[in-house]
Point group: C2
């Protein structure tokens, strides 16, 4: 009924998760450990709202963080209840540590994409250690794609019940959703805007990475395509997903300042693409595609007609369409796919599922 939770990474998402658990006074979750990159604190009693002060270097129980010492401190926590390690970093070396945790009998929950979209051997090791056999530890990562939207769990349900995936297509980046929802529009709401201006506004609103090229190069979307493809049973890697990098070639090696300064020189290029679409009653959307039938998974700037659900997307929402044997008219999920509140919601749901499964 109760699970212990030990959290690595207490930034925006980790802190929000703790806030949600404490606010809802969950009787199923006891947060027993928190760690940032410098320190950690493991307690034999559940942490309270003062966890941040307790974790500060002045806290009497605070210790310097290393993956080994943090893990060692959790050893006794499994005596009464299952223990979940929650990785709220985006760190690759923390992801590489999942097999160690799983072998030690800890469950893993995370919004960190690295373990599921990086080295295929690491992914397979994790799958093998959490293979669903009686007593094997559990791994949940709903929030790696579309934050708390029920994407991974729905895909798992489809796969586990024997449905055949025809394709998975979606807008998986809140940033690129915002940019193209505002840049490429049809009908009454259509007003001409410059691509560079939309990127600039998105940057000011904090929607983009500090360097917007880290969004526009498609690598983040590619990671999500890889994750979905692997859950669907494909051995996707960065090498096998074709990515259309929409950063103009001339600006790929520019300094971040030069990139923003020179992007307006390419407004006409993007406007031409948009006009080609609009004149055909279509809009531009930056989409990820998992295509097991043709063996082609990709990230591309594609066109959709006004009547398509991708065309009417708003704000920075994500959308994902599963076309399957049972759902020839696709099963579609959409909504906010970024931000601490909805990411923490996905984590919280995952941990409750582990609590339910480890009664």
């Amino acid at each position: 009924m109760v699970v212990n939770v030990a959290i690595v990474g207490v930034g925006l998402v980790g802190s929000e998760f703790i806030r949600q658990v404490l606010t809802t006074q969950s009787k199923k979750i006891a947060i027993i450990s928190v760690a940032n990159s410098r320190n950690f604190l493991t307690s034999s009693t559940p942490l309270t709202a003062s966890w941040n002060d307790d974790l500060s270097s002045a806290g009497p129980a605070t210790k310097p963080f290393s993956l080994e010492s943090f893990t060692a401190s959790l050893a006794t926590s499994k005596a009464t209840y299952s223990t979940v390690v929650l990785d709220c970093t985006s760190n690759e070396s923390v992801a590489a540590y999942y097999p160690t945790w799983l072998e030690a009998g800890f469950h893993v929950v995370t919004p960190n994409k690295k373990a599921f979209s990086g080295d295929l051997n690491l992914y397979k090791k994790i799958k093998q250690l959490s293979n669903g056999q009686k007593g094997s530890p559990l791994v949940y990562h709903e929030s790696t794609v579309g934050a708390g939207l029920p994407v991974i769990n729905t895909l798992n349900d489809l796969i586990n019940t024997g449905d055949k995936i025809v394709k998975i297509e979606g807008i998986f980046s809140g940033t690129l959703s915002y940019i193209f929802n505002n840049f490429s529009t049809l009908g009454a709401s259509a007003k001409p805007v410059k691509f560079s201006e939309v990127v600039s506004v998105a940057k000011e609103l904090g929607y983009t990475e500090p360097d917007p090229r880290d969004d526009l190069n498609g690598m983040d979307v590619a990671r999500k395509v890889i994750i979905l493809g692997r859950v669907a049973g494909l051995d996707l890697t960065q090498e096998t997903v074709q990515v259309e990098n929409i950063v103009p070639e001339e600006l790929r090696n520019a300094s971040p300042q030069d990139f923003m300064a020179k992007l307006p020189e390419f407004d006409q290029h993007f406007e031409n693409l948009n006009q080609e679409a609009v004149q055909n009653g279509q809009v531009l959307r930056y989409v990820g595609l998992v295509d097991p039938v043709h063996g082609k998974s990709s990230v591309t700037l594609a066109r959709y007609p006004a009547s398509h659900p991708f065309a009417s997307l708003k704000g920075s929402d994500n959308i994902i369409a599963f076309t399957t044997e049972r759902f020839p008219s696709p099963l579609i999920i959409q909504g906010s796919g970024a931000g601490a509140a909805v990411t923490a919601f996905g984590i919280y749901s995952d941990i409750l599922k582990i609590a339910e499964r480890t009664q």
Copy 2:
């Protein structure tokens, strides 16, 4: 790991569920009993593809069906594994038997709406018996709303993690989705059709009940509103949900033949409603609403602008939008919400979740 499944009702949905389980050679599900309204068959070994012949009255192990004798035959099945009773009827007296099964330690999975939208005391009894305490039996009913679309599980996740529901709004009837998606359209695809003709085509395609008034009166949608409201914590009943019955008053007591014959006399009435909407850039959609904030839950013929996701719905798809504190831009799920394949998918997923929780 393994659960036994005993099925009451082997019509389209029940048979399709058996087919899916046998086709996927599930190692987690053993179908040990099947029952129709006349006979049942309980076996100590999993049933095979010949289950239908075995169940025929000529089968040597076949017995006359009653809820009591069927239940008694399952008593020894719990010795090794958990047993799920799967109700694939739409029968009220089967629904009223759930407390007996739960008290006997059986789990219940069903697409039957009756227990969750009928007598509130029955619902509360079922909730109390499956209260999530250690060892209590489990009840899953994903397929009662939107067939296999992940509606109930998503709502439960939102509630269980402490999100606040602002409203739940959706098109929950494949029939009424089809009728209004075809009758009320905007833009290039808009072509004038008569309401009575759309209803007539829907009837011929088998989308409606034998008497289409059983769809148009809104009672089926009201049942789904009640289910969603109750999952969200509201004590909704048929009395507290306001339902807009769109069957013209003059036709409510007509014979089924007279209803279809006289419906064209009301085409102008529906066309006027549609024109009022279209002239404002809107379409008509028949929607269910759970509104805990204003305490008003309802089923109404409402209008939505072209840019709204409800306006671009196609075919007979369902759609549901959860507006919550964490999802002010709603979490939306859409896709096929009727038919044996997707209903059986929802059931199959539910039973796998029970298998996972009862290792």
